[in-house]
Symmetry: C2
Subunit: 405 residues, 2 copies
């Protein structure tokens, strides 16, 4: 789109700073020449902007690999502990946290069980605040804390920080973003913006930016946990729908005469390929057994488990075929337990996908996440960097500087 | 997005001309003041641009309604027969055509049966060329013919004009766009760009621009015919997916143990709510009976048909609930026979939609198309206007002027 009014010099400068920082954040160390090539800006403009970012402490110039003899090749790279975010992935049974620096470098992680029994929003807030305090030990005094990202397994309104429904946490209508921000502010004397996101959406985003779907534009990410979530990237953007609630593919009805789902419907995909369903398919008790045990039995050749794998592969494939027909994606990423089962389910999934329409089936890569179990957490850190990436110097100026507690 | 290089004066002028023409095309007669308000351009710039469009013959200024005493209020309006497109909707059994003028005015329509028996691509090309000749009688000599749009009930690659698969026409891998363009060129001594589109995508587009979903941004349009097609508008853009094949929701599996579908899969939505399935559900023979008869029997209170309606409503609702959970739309439009059944199926559809997740279900309006049976045809005319709307004067200069044959 062309603009009808000229941008002011300052807008242009901020815009170009943001472009440089985003490139460096996503791609890591880059030569000035490559920055010139990928931005289309001229060399002297790139020089001025890099100097500004160096002065602000966000990037540094160091000797890069492969310099010619006599003339060292400099690369620009993000300074990981200049600007950091805290990211959390709230799952059923465990909360995982990380402090991540500019450039996507994970500086420290922490994991903490949150069960047994349902996790209340208040307990989750307290747990996250305590995890944040621990994570801050990993960064030097004076680092800019520029964002908080939290992945929630449920229906989340991104703008308002409202968790509308997280059935497997038994939360509904929880102002979680606001509660967490208040508690963080009390504990640390300040708090940057808190971004909530649906776990699968965040997985889709991180895998598109840093993972196995890098360079692909139409990506479906399925999070497999107690529930099944879907994150869908179309033309590089997360499908959000009218209220930000799009992508709830776990409640796609695939078996109308199937089991009752906790959402109130019947025969949802989740009731066929969620963790409980999977364990039950092999005759295991979901209360006392685990996916670890299930996979171990498969590795040992347990015939009952292997038979269950075939049927699970069919159900994964039936739902995937629906999504592939609908979205014509170029990558389908199976996160959580769905990815762990892939060695056993791939053949049956492929068989079902062969029933998709021609044109759509050839192009879809079906794979595990490139970032493994960290996909969602990395996605939470990426949204937390959103403001910094949009206006690097403005954000650093207004951010909360961390000091030893 | 800001641009890093300034647009040239000519680019800016063309861009602003395109904005004005698009507003006038979509909204009809508009005062200069409203053009100023909706473009943000200043009054004198709008004046210069309007004069250019008047000179080119694309728009005219006439006295509008409600002018103040002593000072007539002028409105700018598109001149319908200045630039025209031919649009065709190829369905099983009938082909419908129209010649549509700038502003969306249908100047003439023509309808021609194309059965019984399968329509070959060659027969379709001949039929469309003959219909075009008839349609041209409705416009004066010298009108600019700026585009051809054709709706196809199948999987279409928009860029290449390839019909990959239209199962209900029994077409696969047909270079239909190229064939039609060649034939048009031979017959009329020239032919503007031929745009193919999936019927449901075109319905979704026209209903968003001119129909019942005007002003809504996340719209699902279902075309109900022999097959079931889906057209999905997200944030104002058609979902196309990786190869342009997205939206094939008719082959969503909703009943894995159901009937075999002609796509090779089993229990597709189409095998539950396509025309044949509907007739069969009421014990009618799909070969000898019709949706007209089915609806007439329902109107007369035939208990077998009314019972079938309940079940059909359930199956429509099950699939819709999947789509609503996935897309969180603000409008769902039931085209073709699906819309005609709505008076009888609405209650069961609503009941199933109540099983969608909270957040998504409240916002979705479920309705018949505002443009009735013409949705798809209007959509075909809209894509055919695409080039003109992107660069009005450039396109008129290079277009094919119609002369009496």
């Amino acid at each position: 789109m062309l603009h009808t009014s000229a941008a002011t010099q300052d807008e242009l400068r901020r815009h170009n700073l943001a472009r440089l920082v985003r490139i460096l954040h996503n791609s890591g160390a880059t030569t000035r020449s490559d920055l010139v090539a990928s931005t289309g800006l001229n060399r002297s403009t790139v020089g001025v902007l890099v100097t500004e970012l160096v002065t602000a402490g966000l990037v540094e110039e160091v000797a890069g690999p492969g310099g010619n003899v006599g003339r060292p090749s400099l690369v620009v790279r993000p300074v990981a502990d200049s600007a950091v975010v805290t990211a959390f992935d709230v799952r059923v049974g465990v909360t995982v946290g990380a402090i991540v620096g500019l450039g996507g470098t994970t500086l420290a992680t922490v994991e903490s069980p949150n069960g047994p029994g349902p996790l209340t929003p208040e307990a989750a807030v307290a747990q996250i605040v305590s995890m944040a305090a621990e994570l801050f030990n990993a960064v030097p005094d004076g680092a800019s804390w520029v964002g908080v990202g939290v992945a929630i397994p449920g229906v989340v309104n991104i703008d308002s920080g409202l968790v509308l429904l997280a059935p497997n946490l038994q939360w509904s209508d929880v102002e979680f973003g606001a509660q967490l921000e208040t508690a963080m502010r009390q504990e640390f004397g300040g708090c940057p913006l808190v971004h909530l996101g649906n776990d699968a959406n965040l997985g889709a985003m991180s895998e598109s930016v840093r993972g196995v779907a890098r360079g692909r534009h139409n990506v479906i990410y399925l999070s497999g946990d107690v529930g099944i979530g879907g994150g869908i990237v179309l033309d590089g953007r997360i499908l959000s729908g009218n209220g930000g609630y799009g992508g709830e593919v776990g409640h796609m009805v695939v078996r109308p005469d199937g089991r009752r789902c906790r959402c109130g419907s019947q025969g949802c995909w989740e009731t066929e390929i969620g963790q409980e369903a999977i364990l039950r398919a092999a005759g295991l008790d979901p209360k006392t057994s685990s996916i670890d045990e299930f996979v171990k039995r498969a590795d040992e050749g347990d015939p009952q488990v292997l038979l269950a794998m075939d049927s699970i592969g069919d159900w994964i494939g039936i739902g995937l075929s629906n999504l592939v027909n609908t979205f014509n994606p170029d990558a389908v990423i199976l996160g959580g337990h769905l990815g762990r089962l892939l060695p056993y389910t791939a053949a049956h999934i492929a068989d079902r996908l062969a029933h998709s329409l021609p044109g759509v089936q050839e192009t879809a890569l079906v794979t595990e996440p490139g970032l493994g179990a960290r996909s969602t957490l990395v996605g939470a850190s990426e949204v937390a960097f959103g403001r910094l990436l949009a206006d690097p110097l403005g954000e650093v100026e207004s951010s909360h500087a961390l000091v030893a507690s």
